[in-house]
Point group: C2
Chain length 422, copies 2
């Protein structure tokens, strides 16, 4: 009998306890031993919960109980969970966590403390999709050349609705909040930070990159509007919040931002709250993993798959943390300003002679080569809209060009920019 | 140093040897030991091959060499590979195979012989997609309720072209043969047998079902024509050759056949030679796995992932064969005639009074309830086309109804039938 303690019994914790109960026979057969949740730690004992396990407010009753073999950390936050996991590891308990923020900041510290004690974290990226295991085991023959993921269901739901139904950003955000897809303060999701945490975890597995969220380029979906969507539709693009890792020689470019992607690409077809991750391996080519990125049962499915692996295979579990084998190469983070992409720019300008030439000159001076240029003068208010798609250009060059364009007197609004993933 | 011998050095075998060489550092880091191919067995030493390994025509030099730790079987066929694998296991060598036909017939025999010796077979289903590992590890908390896969790239390529470009079956088959996607005798692919072999392997993992190809319903794509495709397009369906496993109480329905699927379903979006497998778990919901189902490097990627797991985790490798843990439930194969589905029927009939009533009566007598009925009389040759979509009905009832309809004098051709997956 393997004994599990859960720290943080919210929606996911309840599902973990209930699924271990509901699928007991099957899970026992697969793990080779019976697995039982013996205790859960919560901050409020009076809150009604949909579980029958014994509860405590004292986390020590779990992390220091010699009977407990595996600690499941589902608290949320960073510093408090770090303490809890550290203590559990010090007491030689295996740990399973769904906490992406904890791992975005402390994955290498925790691995160091853990040594050979297993840490499972399949649930920390893309909920029920077994992407961690795919990277660690299924694709292990490959140098990963690229990861492109839709890893935030809130943003994908909002963008899908904005594109399919023409809903404005503010209206769809309100709807997402009412449906429980977005928090009261939605910044963590719509600002791209949640996706960035997940990307850092995947980048560690694929490349051994020890970066923190503040080291990488993160842009949210807050400024996407219906004008951009109209352009996207007209030219056959979807708009997705992508988390991207790309290997360019010995540098790894990591970034989260909205991107225009041709609708025929498989990843462009992932709509609504669903998540999907496209991985390119140098030998296998593209594989893609699709499924629910959130939800109690889906996330618990991943948590329990880690528990089963730890019980079944112990130190040989492929779920082990951020160890050397996956950080063996001499790869380093690419500085943000070196990141290259194609860009879409939308500019609201005075409808007068010379403006287009001015802007084209600025782009040229910043080594930005133009793929498509469109001018539209629908407004009848003396302004025109310029739409521009560039060939591959450098992030820093584009930022400089945007600053120069915005400094022109004829430019009426901030320049809208969305990267194009080709 | 781990020593590997390859029996059968064709396209995949060459890729296995070459990738182990090209990605040596990375693979050594991930496996924890260096892996080297020391010998390959071939039937013709004079054939030019793109590998630098030592070759022999004597398979015994591999399966009986005490220096060799892992035998990779890539021969094709059934009985000869069975002998080779059996001998390798008897000599305590781990085995990795990409041979779906071998496993479709002998997976349980081989597992029995293997005992605790690892057998890896990730490459046997859907080439480079790590679907075996997803089922064994990633989804292990779930009772699998359904598997729906596009697992034959040849058929998917042909159907995609027939739908997108209106190409006739014979023309596209010829093209697929010229491109090397289809064999000179295409029966194994277009007849559904290749997909059936793969389905049986997945059904063993998910349900422990010990069935053989001849036990299950297998229909190919040979009779799909442009009339059916026109109907599909008009009503928002794609046509795919699906391999399906469904749990209905304690019975598992296994079948391979062309199916109409609503185009908005993720699996309907998988086009061309690509493969994709949708899996529904009772807790996680739907996850889907997409990627290349064939090709030397993609298949070798899966073969090597097995080798790495065996080296890294040995007996704890999740790639172990068809053992009890995954066959723990009391599930059994559903008899073919009990399989239930919705059906699309196309009938060419004499354009005269009473025909529709006749046919509707036959359907009713066989407990088949009608969802949609369409009559068209475009032909001007005294015939009409009747199209019918049914509600869920039993396979045996539908076959009986089709026989009765075909026996009517007013029915001019064989009834075309395609199952609808809703």
């Amino acid at each position: 009998m393997v004994k599990v303690g859960i720290v943080g019994v919210g929606t996911v914790g309840e599902s973990v306890a209930n699924i271990l109960e509901a699928n007991r026979d099957l899970i026992t057969a697969r793990a080779g031993k019976e697995i039982t949740v013996v205790k859960g730690a919560v901050s409020n004992l009076n809150k009604k919960r949909n579980v029958s396990i014994s509860l405590t407010t004292d986390i020590d009753e779990i992390v220091s109980d010699p009977e407990i073999d595996i600690v499941v950390e589902l608290m949320g936050g960073v510093e408090k969970p770090y303490e809890v996991v550290t203590k559990a590891l010090a007491n030689h308990k295996a740990v399973v966590t769904a906490n992406k923020a904890l791992l975005a900041y402390h994955r290498y510290d925790l691995q160091k403390i853990a040594g050979d004690i297993p840490i499972g974290y399949e649930a920390s990226v893309a909920g029920g999709i077994p992407i961690i295991n795919a990277l660690k085991v299924g694709l292990s023959a490959n140098q990963i050349t690229e990861i492109k993921g839709i890893m935030n269901g809130t943003c994908n739901y909002m963008l899908t609705k904005m594109i399919d139904e023409g809903v404005a950003y503010d209206a769809i955000l309100k709807e997402a909040q009412e449906l429980g897809y977005a928090e009261a303060d939605p910044t963590f999701d719509v600002g791209g930070f949640d996706a960035a945490h997940k990307l850092l975890i995947l980048a560690s597995i694929a490349y051994g990159i020890d970066a923190k969220p503040e080291d990488i380029l993160i842009e949210g979906i807050e400024s996407i509007n219906q004008e951009d969507i109209a352009f996207a539709k007209e030219f056959g693009y979807a708009i997705k919040l992508l988390a991207i890792a790309k290997k360019v020689e010995d540098e790894i470019s990591l970034r989260v931002h909205p991107a225009l992607i041709k609708t025929e690409k498989m990843i462009a077809k992932i709509d609504g709250v669903m998540n999907g991750i496209s991985v390119i391996g140098d030998k296998v080519g593209e594989t893609l993993y699709y499924g629910p990125g959130a939800g109690g049962d889906a996330t618990a499915s991943a948590v329990i798959s880690d528990i089963i692996e730890i019980v079944r295979a112990g130190q040989s579990s492929p779920m082990l943390g951020f160890k050397k084998p996956f950080a063996s190469e001499n790869l380093r983070l690419m500085p943000k300003e070196k990141i290259a992409s194609e860009y879409y720019l939308r500019m609201q300008v005075a409808d007068q002679p010379g403006v287009l030439a001015n802007i084209a000159t600025i782009l040229g001076q910043n080594s930005i080569s133009i793929d498509t240029f469109l001018q539209r003068t629908d407004a009848n208010d003396g302004t025109a809209t310029l739409l521009c798609a560039t060939h591959e250009a450098n992030e820093s060059d584009v930022q400089q060009a945007i600053n120069a364009i915005e400094a022109l007197e004829v430019v009426k609004q901030r320049v809208a920019m969305i990267r194009i993933e080709s």
